[in-house]
Amino acid sequence: MRLPLLALLSRGPAHGYELKQDLEQLLGAAYPQPNIGQIYVTLGRLEKSGLIEGEEIAQSSRPNKRIYRLTEAGTEALRAWFEETADEPRVRDEFFMKLALAPRTGLADQIALINKQRREYLNTMRNLSKLSATEDRDNRIAQLLIEGAMLHLQADLDWLERCQEELEGLE
C-alpha cells in the first residue's frame, strides 16, 4: 500500500479519503478495497519516514482534515520503485508440501488432493469470469487485473494436470 499511495500523491496533494477514491476508480470493483483506516495508518507511517508531509486544514463545519504532499525523498522512493522489477510469482507452497508428503502419512491420497484443489481453482475461475463480465468493460486496468488473476489460475490448473499425469497410477 505504501508505494501506490506515494504514486497517487505524485499528481498533487490530497487527503486520505481522496486517495481511497482514486484507488477505487483506477482498479474498479475487482480490487478488494483497502479500508480507510488502513490508508490513514499507512499515511502516518509515510509521514514519519519523511516520504510525505502533512498539513492540517481547518474546516468550519467538520473536523480538520490532513492534506499530504510528496517530499523530495518520496519522489526518490517512487523512482527507485519504478526502477526495480517485481518478484516472480511463486508455486503454491502449501499445496505442494501436502502433495509431496501425503504418501508418507497415509492420511491423504494425492489424486484426491489434486481433485479437491482443482475444484476450488475452477470455482474461483468461474467467479473471476463473472466478475469480468460485470466489471466496466472500458476500465482496462481493472480488466487486466482480472485477466492476470485468471492466467495465474490457469497456470496453476495446468500444473495440477501435470501432477495428475505424473502421479496417477503410481500409488
Binding site: 470455482n123 467467479n127 499425469e165
Partner: protein, 256 residues
C-alpha cells in the same frame, strides 16, 4: 431460441446418457485406448465442460457422443432412446435435428457464403426457404455478424468464422450443442467472445457439452468433468462457495 430451461418441468430422463463407452484407435504402433469405460449423463439445460490434457481422449468422447465415431462397446441414449442400432444416415439426420456441433477449425464450407453456410443445414432438415432465411438473419444479428451474410468464410477472422459455425450449429434448434475446443484456434479476445456466447445460449436453456483444455473456457460451465487417460477422474458441479476463505479477494489482492 425461445426455449427456456425450467428445472421444474424438465424431464427426468437425461438428454444424453452414455454407459460403459470404450474406444480404441488402431493405427500404426501400439493401440491407443482413447476412451476406457466412460459413464456420463447430461441433463436438459446443463452446461458441462470436459477438460483434460491433449491426448486424454476427450475429443474422441465428443465424437462418440455425436455419432461421428462408433464405440467398440457401450451404449448411448439420446432423450432416453437407445442409439446403438442407428445407421450412419440416421446419425447424420440426428446431427441436423437434435445435435449441433462446433469444431476447433470451424469446418465451414469455403465456397459458400456465410448466409448459405448457415441456411444449408436448415434447408437439408426440411425448413422452407423463407423460414431458413429468417432463422439465419436472426442468428447472424444475434452473433454480431449482420454485415457479413454475403462474405465468404475466408474473408472473416477466426473469431467471426467460429461465430458463423455456431450459427450453423444452432439453426435447427438442436437440443444438444457439442463444442470441440471451440476456442482452440482463437486469440484471447476470440476466446472471451466464444465464452460469452456459450454462456448466453446456455442461460436461455441450451444444453451444451464443451470439450476444452482451457480452464477459463471450462469455468463458464456449471459442471466440469476432468478427463485423464480415457477415464473420468473427477466430476464437479461449480458455483458453490469456495471451500476456503481466500477465494476472489485472495487472487486479486495486490500486495506490496
Amino acid at each position: 431460441m425461445s426455449r427456456t430451461a425450467d428445472p421444474d418441468d424438465a424431464p427426468r430422463i437425461p438428454l444424453l446418457r452414455a454407459e460403459g463407452l470404450v474406444k480404441t484407435h488402431y493405427g500404426e504402433g501400439a493401440p491407443a485406448h482413447a476412451v476406457r469405460g466412460v459413464d456420463l449423463s447430461v441433463r436438459h439445460g446443463e452446461f458441462v465442460a470436459v477438460t483434460g490434457p491433449s491426448g486424454a481422449g476427450k475429443s474422441t468422447l465428443l465424437h462418440l457422443l455425436g455419432g461421428l465415431q462408433r464405440p467398440d462397446s457401450g451404449s448411448i441414449r439420446l432423450d432416453g432412446e437407445c442409439t446403438d442400432s442407428y445407421s450412419e444416415a440416421r446419425w447424420a439426420t440426428e446431427r441436423r435435428r437434435r445435435i449441433g456441433i462446433v469444431f476447433q477449425f470451424f469446418n465451414l464450407v469455403s465456397n459458400l457464403t456465410v448466409a448459405d453456410n448457415v441456411e444449408l443445414p436448415a434447408l437439408l432438415a426440411g425448413t422452407g426457404t423463407r423460414q431458413a432465411r429468417a432463422e439465419r438473419e436472426k442468428l447472424l444479428a444475434e452473433l454480431g455478424l449482420e454485415g457479413k451474410a454475403r462474405s465468404m468464410p475466408g474473408e472473416l477472422s477466426g473469431g467471426e468464422q467460429q461465430r458463423v459455425a455456431l450459427a450453423r450449429a444452432l439453426v435447427n434448434h438442436p437440443r444438444l450443442l457439442l463444442a470441440d475446443e471451440p476456442a482452440g484456434s482463437l486469440d484471447s479476445k476470440g476466446t472471451r467472445e466464444v465464452m460469452r456466447l456459450l454462456s448466453r445460449f446456455h442461460q436461455r436453456g441450451q444444453t451444451i457439452l464443451l470439450v476444452t483444455h482451457d480452464a477459463r473456457l471450462a469455468s463458464a460451465a456449471d459442471r466440469v468433468v476432468s478427463f485423464f487417460d480415457g477415464r473420468i477422474a473427477d466430476d464437479a458441479e461449480l458455483g458453490g462457495a469456495p471451500a476456503r476463505g481466500t477465494g476472489l479477494s485472495g487472487v486479486l489482492e495486490l500486495k506490496d
